[in-house]
């Protein structure tokens, strides 16, 4: 009972602190909502194989996974192997995938196209890794950081948005496999239970308009 009261007080305090309607400039509220269709799905982006590809082009029979990521961010690197494993494994289960780098290589040189080609080869990515050369696709999604995943079901509706799992540092210490669970649900045609999660990540280095 005492613990319950304490927890309730803590929850109330957190709600109070979290507040609503602050005059901030946070990106979280701008992200694509659950149930929405993929925006900018026709925009062609150059992949590491030199071909132009859009989100629509990779649509899978069971669902479609869009991951905003990059080469240089330590969080993107920390989760990279797990993202590649998921993307490659779920292709066989009817999930189309595209990894999108929306960073401006003028800000972070390691996020350039040539480096993407090398990375895709090194990691054995079997799905398109493309460059969002104006960041317009990331902006349309309301994406804010790398890595950030958006999973759409067979009907093209967003059913999961967020992190890969709950431990960037160690795959062995992961206790919540958010994205894998969501993928399994989509493949099985079931409702995704945890629809939105957050993780610390690198802010997207937006392309500056010329």
């Amino acid at each position: 009972m005492r613990t319950t009261t304490k927890l309730a007080a803590l929850a109330a305090a957190l709600v109070l602190v979290a507040g609503a309607g602050i005059a901030g400039e946070m990106a979280g509220k701008a992200a694509l909502g659950i149930g929405a269709k993929a925006p900018a799905a026709d925009v062609k982006m150059k992949g590491v194989d030199g071909k132009e590809v859009s989100i629509k082009d990779v649509t899978g029979a069971k669902g479609t996974l869009v991951v905003f990521t990059c080469n240089a961010c330590p969080y993107a690197k920390g989760w990279e192997t797990r993202i590649v494993d998921l993307g490659n494994a779920y292709a066989a289960k009817g999930i189309g995938m595209i990894a999108i780098n929306a960073n401006d290589p003028k800000v972070v040189a390691d996020d350039g196209y040539d480096q993407m080609v090398t990375r895709a080869k090194e990691r054995g990515m079997k799905y398109p890794y493309v460059m969002d050369a104006t960041s317009e696709v990331a902006k349309a999604f309301g994406a804010a950081r790398t890595p950030e995943a958006f999973l759409f079901d067979a009907q093209g509706k967003l059913v999961y948005h967020g992190a890969v799992d709950d431990n960037v540092e160690s795959a062995e210490k992961v206790s919540k496999t958010y994205l894998k669970d969501a993928l399994d649900s989509v493949v099985a045609g079931k409702e995704v239970s945890v629809k939105e999660t957050k993780a610390v990540g690198c802010g997207i280095k937006w392309h500056q308009q010329a």
């Binding site: 507040g19 005059a23 946070m26 979280g28 920390g78 610390v200």
Partner: protein, 163 residues
């Protein structure tokens, strides 16, 4: 012969206390601890270039306004080898006061801090003297903007703490 900037950095460098692990609950307890009229929470990491660029301005702000009620809580989000790099960076920046290290899984930590934070760094939160979140943003800011964000909550010069 050392370059001038290296000499200055050498003069500033201190042995910084390692950031103390803190869950969001512990961080918010620090925010609500009496004594400050405004608390600025900045979540940063050594790999985050804008965080590093903004850091000296945050320290300058603290030096200028801690006597008027500003409390600066620096929360490091490095992991792995980055944790050692963070201690070195704090030392190089001359940080000789306690700072915090994000503990707890990201989703819980981010949601507890609130303000629609996406998780991108740097992230800065402004809490008033009662511990209420009044502003938040997730990009680096200029010194002038940081100053303007805290100014409404500062105590008048020479006034002692009321809490």
């Amino acid at each position: 012969m050392l370059p001038f900037s290296a000499l200055i950095a050498g003069l500033l460098a201190v042995s910084a206390p390692p950031p103390a692990p803190a869950t969001a609950e512990k961080l918010l307890q620090e925010v609500r601890r009496p004594g400050a009229s405004v608390t600025l929470v900045n979540v940063w990491a050594t790999w985050c270039m804008p965080c590093r660029e903004e850091f000296p301005d945050l320290l300058r702000l603290r030096r200028a306004y801690q006597g008027r009620g500003l409390r600066l809580l620096l929360v490091n989000a490095d992991f792995g080898e980055g944790k050692d790099e963070a201690v070195k960076f704090l030392g190089d920046q001359g940080v000789d006061f306690p700072t915090l290290l994000k503990e707890q899984d990201d989703d819980a930590f981010i949601n507890a801090l609130g303000g629609d934070w996406s998780g991108a760094l740097p992230a800065t939160f402004v809490f008033d003297g009662t511990g209420k979140l009044v502003d938040a943003w997730e990009h680096k800011e200029t010194y002038a903007t940081l100053e303007s964000k805290i100014r409404p909550f500062l105590r008048e010069e020479g006034k002692e703490t009321t809490r």
